[in-house]
Symmetry: C2
Subunit: 359 residues, 2 copies
């Protein structure tokens, strides 16, 4: 979509996502983009206007989509189908409709069933968020450098796809094409599973009779690991219903993984240590070279198939002292078991020299 002629964008739902979209659009190309906001709550529309997230608030859905080039549905997924049905009669011919819901199979089906053939629906999901909800928490930088999943139906016109790519790029995000079914599986693993685990961890520890004594010991670890439990409960509920099978699948797999860790911890041997080191190294690679930013591998070859990944990683981080750390950890790991036993039995130290390590 050319930025030369003004683009009219209608955003439905001016919470965290819709409000941030409006702010980011206005910040990026104010002169060429006119943003119309529609929300069930008049106060929210006023606040969105005051914050500069929208040029104009419109309470009525049909009036809100009038002459719109692009309609962004950022409502809770639980009302998404209804909103589609409501705006359907008023959508201009050639208009592009997209959404921001956390799952994509449902919205794609609902769009096919409710929207007129003269408009194009392209599923969308910006992979960004924070625990605060509402227009007050909206932030023009929320999408900066974040992935923005784009799910075009098989028959989507290229111009419609480009419109949603334009939206993603204008707000600073990295558009990523993904098929709806795969999106829902991937999002379950990387987003919905962590969310449910965050709730489960918090509610478990909170339910302890010793909570009043446990809680004062909480440091950043517990706070970070339960942060997602402070998100919008309505969204958590909607996600679990709209992506139920995938969420249940990943919860089952995590239970199995926890069982694996329980066995490793029960045994308390080198494989536990190797599991921790492996995870730490893999996460360093993930943070330093997230997939998608790496040089393309040969077809069929994955980065993890490259021989000597471990050495590569160690070399890569050499400048940060990891080689030394790795060597130290590896040597500690290999002698950890005899050491563990030795400490209990062996009062007579074989090496009486300086022997303090460090954490």
């Amino acid at each position: 979509m050319s930025q030369e002629k003004p683009v009219r964008v209608a955003i439905f739902g001016l919470g965290l996502i819709g409000g941030s979209l409006g702010l980011a659009l206005k910040a990026a190309g104010a002169a060429n983009v006119e943003v119309i906001g529609c929300d069930i709550d008049g106060t929210v529309l006023r606040k969105a206007r005051q914050r500069g997230a929208i040029d104009k608030g419109e309470a009525h859905p049909i009036r809100a989509v009038r002459e719109a080039n692009l309609v962004v549905l950022a409502t809770p997924i639980s009302v998404l189908r209804e909103v589609m049905a409501e705006i359907a009669p008023g959508l201009p011919e050639g208009c592009v409709v997209t959404d921001t819901a956390s799952t994509k199979e449902g919205p794609m089906l609902w769009a096919r069933d409710t929207l007129p053939p003269a408009v194009s629906f392209i599923g969308g999901h910006p992979m960004a968020g924070k625990e605060e909800a509402g227009i007050e928490a909206a932030d023009a930088g929320l999408f900066q450098d974040k992935a923005y999943c784009v799910c075009p139906p098989a028959d989507a016109p290229e111009a419609a796809i480009n419109t949603v790519l334009w939206l993603a790029q204008t707000i600073g995000a990295r558009p990523l094409f993904v098929e709806a079914k795969e999106h829902d599986q991937y999002a379950a693993a990387i987003s919905h599973l962590p969310m449910v685990i965050s709730y489960a961890l918090f509610s478990l520890v909170r339910a302890s009779p010793a909570w009043q004594d446990i809680a004062p010991l909480a440091a950043s670890g517990f706070r970070d690991m339960t942060r997602l439990a402070s998100g919008d409960p309505q969204m958590a509920f909607d996600i679990c219903l709209s992506n139920r099978e995938a969420v249940l699948h990943w919860l089952e797999r995590l239970s199995a993984e926890i069982d694996r860790y329980r066995s490793l911890i029960s045994a308390g041997e080198k494989p536990l240590f190797e599991t921790f080191i492996r995870a730490q190294l893999d996460r360093e690679v993930f943070l330093a070279m997230p997939p998608g930013t790496r040089p393309q591998s040969a077809p069929g070859q994955r980065v993890e198939d490259v021989p000597n990944l471990q050495e590569s990683v160690v070399s890569f981080f050499a400048g940060r002292g990891s080689v030394e750390r790795w060597r130290r950890l590896a040597s500690l790991g290999s002698r950890s078991k005899p050491q563990q036993e030795g400490r209990e039995k062996d009062g007579d130290q074989r090496d009486p020299g300086p022997h303090s390590g460090r954490r």
Copy 2:
């Protein structure tokens, strides 16, 4: 301990914790405190000196404790018993020894078995950390306002306890008395369980054959929930071994809690929604009024026993719009099920008026 006369503190292990302790001590009372550092690694001693974490580096343990008033053992717990045995012959009479290990039952026993009767051991555990390890990551502010668990044996002299309280307060932490056995249970719940879950979540998703496609979708949720898996693998291993029973106990309980969530999600009814709301409200209370900072309840009465907690919470957050949010969520929750079904069956909207919500 009076700050009028100089205090000689020997810190063993100048990694993140030992290094930060030195920096915090020097920052708080440089003139009155002399810090001697001892580490297995000469490079670390030099860096600690350059960073101002210690006044003097000493490679030999016996020389390091000479004339020390307070000895802080900040080595990995896996070498703690050895270090105690090494310094035992050189400890001055009346000297106080403390540690910073993540568990307390083991160190208390080892101290009783290895240290001479003329010195006092008081267990310690500052509840602070970050994923970076080593002297490079040391930070004078690491302990600011953090809990610092203090575990005196039953027969500890008051002066020895006061020395460790002085240490905790000088570095800006909040000392908290806790019995060693309870400490290990509580730390398992609030610190070791989240750590293991962080590893399990990362290694599970990382092991997926679709990882290369899943990872680009990762947003702050996945990163935060797996942050602890970037911690020191040696420490993770040591914690799991030294607090094995408690960690296994809490992992088992979390598995049961995950099963409960799986049932709730399978059913997809109001109890799931209530569980999410309950957790979110409880976490808001936890963040706003963490236990220990609240006005004292009447004896035997816990804060959660106060009638109408829910209303209190809602009123407490009224200024931040939570009353409105709560009402909206509650009403959405109660109609969520019929809505879910209705959406699928009912093409004919009963309420054709403005109907967009917001996330």
